[in-house]
Structure formats: C-alpha cells, structure tokens
Amino acid sequence: MNESKSNLERVRAIIRSQYFWGIVAIFLLLLINLIKDPSYLNLSYNPTTGAFVGNIIDILRAAAPILMIAVGVCLVIATGGIDLSVGSVMVVSGAVTMEFLSAANQPDSIGAAALAILLALLLSTVLGLVNGVLVAFVGLQPFITTLVMMLAGRGIAKVITEGQNTSATNEPVRWIANGYAFGLPVVFLIAVAVIVVVSIVVRKSALGLMIEAIGIDPKASRLAGLNRRGLLLTVYAISGLLAGIAGIFATASVMTVDVSRTGYQLELDAILAVVIGGTSLAGGKFSIGGAVIGALLIATLDKTVLFLGVPSSATPAFKAIVIIALCLLSSERVRSLFRQRRLTTPLTPKETVPS
C-alpha cells in the first residue's frame, strides 16, 4: 500500500515536472511523423558502415550541438545570468578547427585532429572566461556582456579565417561528426558522455547547490560564505567549453566553417531548450535533464518540419506555434485552469497580480 502510494506519487511528480510537456511534445511530433509515414520510426542496420539508419538517428545527430549549448546555457541561467554568446563561440571554435586543419593539411592525422580540437576548446574556454570575468569581477550585466561577446565572437571567427568560409580535410575530425560507434552516431555518444560528466560534476559535488543558491539570492549566498565570483567564472567557462564542443560538431559534419551561418542564432535554441526544460530565466533551480529534453524537442521539431515538407516560408511560424503551445501548457497559470481545483500552494508575491 505504501509502495503503491509512493509509485503513484512518483508518477505525479513526473507529470508535475516542468519538462513533462516537453516529453509529450516529442512523442506527439513523432506520432505526427508516424501518421505521415508509418515506417518513420523504423531502424535498419547498414552492415557496411556498421551503423543504424533511420530518422531517429538523424534527430539524435542533429541534437548533439544543441544539447551541448543548452546544458551550458542552463548552468549560466541558473546563476541568474544568460549566455547569448554560445552561437558565436561555436563559430570561433569551428573556425579554429578548420583553419588549423586546413593549414596542417594532414588528412589522416589523429595528432593534427587532437591538436586542432584542443586549440579550439582552449580558445572557447578562454572566451567563456572573459564573459565570466566581465560578469563576476567587472560587474557588467550578463546580458550586455554576452551580447558583446556574441558580436565580437563572429568577428573573431572572421579574423581567424580572413573573412572566408574555410574547408579542410581530416578524417578523424570528420568521423567525430559523421562516424558511428556501436551503431550510433559518434557525435551523439560524445554529447551523452559530456552531459553525463557535467551532470556528475554538478550534482555529485556541491557545485549544483551553490549555483542554485547564488542564482536565487546572491546576497544571502555571499553571507553564507559562498564564493560567487569563482562560481560565476566556472559556469561561464563551462558554457564556453561546451559551446566549443558544439562548434566542432557543427563544422565537422561538412568540414567547413561558415562564418556567417555556423551557430547562427543557436543561442536562441539553447535558451528555448532550457526554458522548455523548466529552468526559470530568473535563475535558481535548474534541471539539466530538462534542458536535454528541450534540446531533443527542438531537434525533433526541426526535423519534423522538414519531414512534413512544411514550406520554407511557413517554417518559422510552425515552430513558433508549437513552442508557444508548449509554453502555455507548462505555465502554472494555464495548468491551474485545467485543474478544476483550488490553488494548492500559496502564491509567492512574485506570482500574485499586483493589486
């Protein structure tokens, strides 16, 4: 009896969790695709490449870069900040990778690949640290700081490639974005591994608690002895690093960095993914799992739009409608309309209508 009750409560907790509707939306989109084509979810195995082939695989691969930046932005948002520069850090990272590989011109060298990636991630982390220093030590607003970095980042990428779109050939790097391991796309596996590592670091250490604390109440956290500056620096650096990984993913798939398109406006996708995942833009409690769901939803949505053949001109509207519907469903106020019950938790002052 006790156990069944706790099971029931667990189910309730999932339904109440913010990202529940994100999961529902993913399933709905898949269902729509399935109606259009009953074989949509089929997976076949290609023995020559050793890979599974199917729409789901495509979605997972497309989700990888968004997953990276969504997790990074999620942590930044939890501190009460925002990182608008992730898309631009992506293009910087991609530009470094491609420019280095193109100069090295060693199509099969793992060493060149490793060096290129190391260099790209290093620079991305430095850009994240610059954000962190400006926010934590100089005291600039995160929005302004990262907005400047967003503009500067694309400029840096153009300087690196001398304003052009650089292509390169390097099999190991290409494999990262296009290869398969255990029948699954390598990018997705790397993304999962990175997320697992980040989650463990954040949740098994006290980092997560501290990030939430400074996000909810910086003053109280300081008095409780938390090192706000150090935490902010760490979080922006992590976001930069993850965006760097995303940049390598995005450019390695075609082995070209497109200085005006790579990562363009992806910061919006990342923020959206975080919000869909139930992390408030005001900061505080965050959910990496939610951000992951959000990123998967956005990838699914992008692919669905293509699969259904929605005309290019109608695509933005279609995406907007889905996302607005989702935000409505997950809003506490709308949900309470559906629930024919009295408010069960007292409203906090923020949520009450000013009288």
């Binding site: 495509d58 304003g163 075609v254 070209t256 005006s260 398109r261």
Partner: protein, 328 residues
C-alpha cells in the same frame, strides 16, 4: 563629348569595353590638370562571407578597383547577411559623399528610399550581381550580373536531356524571399519539362551544413526516391552530396546533383563524379564594372542590365579540363 550618344547594346561587350576604355582615357585627360592623383572613392556595399562564389566575386572587385587604377575602394560587408547593416553602410556612404556606390544587396526589396537618397545626392549606384525588387531601373545606373534566369534554365535543360522520361527532384534554395532565389527558381521552373515532379523545395540558407541536414531528412521522407537535386549554390549541393553518401546511395547514379556557381570545390567534386552538373555563375566581371563606373562618372547613359557570360560543365572530363585555370 559622348554624352548624347547611347552606348552599344550590352551583348556587344567588346564594343562596349572599347568605348568605355576610350571614355576612361578622356576622363583621365580631363581630370589631369585639376589634380591627377585625386582618387575616385568607391563605396562597396557588399554581402561578405557567404561562400566561395561571393569570395571570388568580392576579391575580384577589390583587386580591380585598386589605388594604382585610380580608386579608393571602401569595402563594407554585411553583418551576417543582414540587410539592415547594408542599408546603414549605404546611407553612410551617401552621407560621406563617395563618388560611386557598388551594391550587392542581400535582399532585393526595401531599397527604394536608400537609392532615392543616393540619386538626390547625385551619387551613381551600380548593382553588382544581386538585383533589387521591384526592379525600377531609374533608381540605379546599371546592374551587372550573370543572368540567374539563364543560368538556372541551363540546369533545367540539362536535366530535361538527362531524364527524357522525367524524374523526381527537390530544390535546395537560399533564404526565402531573396531576389536571387526567386530568379533562379523562375529560370528553372520555366525551362523544366512537365514530366518532372517537384517533391519539395526547402531553404538551406546557402549553407552546406544545413543542406546536409535538410537533404538527409528529404531522403528518408521520400524513401530515397529522389533522382535529382537542384542546389541553388555549390555549398548546398556539396552538403547534399554528403547526405547522399551517408545514406549509402551512389552519387551520379541514384541521385544526381546539379549546382549553380562553379566554384573550385564544386568543379573538383564534379571531376570526382560527386556532382553531376555545374552551371557557372561567373563572378569575375571587375573589368566590366570599371567600364560602367567610368561611364557613369562621365555622365553617360549605360545599359541598365549587362549580362556577364557564364559557362556550364556537364562531365567530369570537362571539369578536369577546366580545373587548372580555375580562378575561384
């Protein structure tokens, strides 16, 4: 002295070239006493990084309007293909009072006011490659470009010959609403046979990365039953080629890809058999541009549309032959 005389039709490019050459000589004679080393300032409202074609085109313009040739070129690329930044740059050039403005518009519409301002300031505007919509030729001196309609039609004609029985095809477009996209669509749609089935047209924003993702899904969506891809630039065609390879299909057999632009990467891919047809969209028309600018400064009437001749490559052999001399 030549002001009353109309220039020869643009098709007689050589003749036009000769005339304007003479013109240039005249004008430099005239200017010499006033201050021979005064440079002509040219404001170039450019597109900026977009792909190899644009790179070649803009480099060519920059290499032509040099100080040695008597020009000071102010190069203003758009920020992320954003029209707003172009309009800002254009206005700045007008305010600054440059002698001539070259304009490659990222988007065709919305230029009337800016062009009218330039006209008021008596600054001639020459459109480079991209046209404007609606095409009011009284607002500018001339547009110099390869003809998108003709280039796109050449792809359709090749496809008509390749699949006399018709085929299923998709189009990978640039951003929706852009003038060049509309022109390339028009040229292709008018020339393609009725027995072809257009399954879908999607934008991939000129980008290889996006084209790869788009075409990967299209293949799944139509169960690989797509014989032909019309990619409106080389990058998107190359991106689609990657998607075809990843789907385990054979390029040139299961799926044939035709692209517009003819950059080195595409010609190489054609030589390797990864693309099947490349229609050049010739970016190297700096010389013609100089002639038109000279004529405009001298106050002469110039043909409102000067078409730059372009080539097509329909086989690996033709591509291999063209490769050594390829300049872009």
């Amino acid at each position: 002295m030549l002001s009353n005389k109309r220039l020869a039709p643009a098709l007689a490019l050589v003749a036009a070239g000769a005339l304007t050459m003479g013109l240039a000589a005249c004008s430099s004679d005239a200017e010499a006493p006033g201050g021979g080393d005064e440079l002509v300032t040219v404001g170039f409202v450019a597109v900026g990084p977009e792909g190899a074609w644009r790179e070649a085109n803009e480099a060519n313009v920059q290499d032509t309007f040099t100080e040695e040739a008597g020009y000071e070129l102010k190069y203003a690329p758009a920020a992320n293909l954003d029209q707003k930044s172009q309009i800002d740059a254009f206005t700045a050039f007008v305010d600054e009072g440059v002698d001539v403005i070259l304009l490659s518009a990222t988007e065709g519409s919305g230029w009337e006011d800016s062009l009218a301002r330039a006209q008021e300031a008596e600054i001639p505007v020459v459109l480079v490659d991209r046209g404007i919509e609606p095409d009011d030729s009284s607002l500018y001196v001339s547009r110099i470009a390869p003809d998108n309609v003709v280039v796109a039609a050449s792809i359709a004609e090749w496809a008509n010959a390749e699949w006399p029985e018709g085929a299923n095809y998709v189009t990978l477009e640039g951003p929706a609403g852009v003038g060049v996209v509309n022109e390339r669509n028009r040229g292709f749609d008018e020339a393609i046979n009725d027995n072809f089935t257009k399954l879908e047209a999607q934008t991939a924003n000129w980008s290889a990365d996006e084209a790869k993702g788009v075409f990967e899904t299209m293949l799944k969506s139509y169960d690989n039953d797509i014989q032909f891809v019309f990619a409106q630039n080389d990058e998107m065609g190359l991106g689609a080629a990657l998607a075809v390879e990843e789907a385990g299909l054979t390029l040139g057999e299961d799926v044939k890809i035709a692209t517009i632009d003819g950059t080195r990467g595409a010609i190489e891919a054609l030589a390797d058999g990864r693309l099947s047809f490349v229609a050049e969209y010739n970016p190297l028309f700096g010389e013609t541009l100089v002639d038109v600018v000279e004529a405009a400064l001298a106050g002469d009437t110039v043909e409102s549309y000067i078409i730059v001749p372009s080539l097509t490559f329909d086989s690996p052999e033709a591509a291999a032959e063209a490769l050594p001399d390829r300049q872009f």
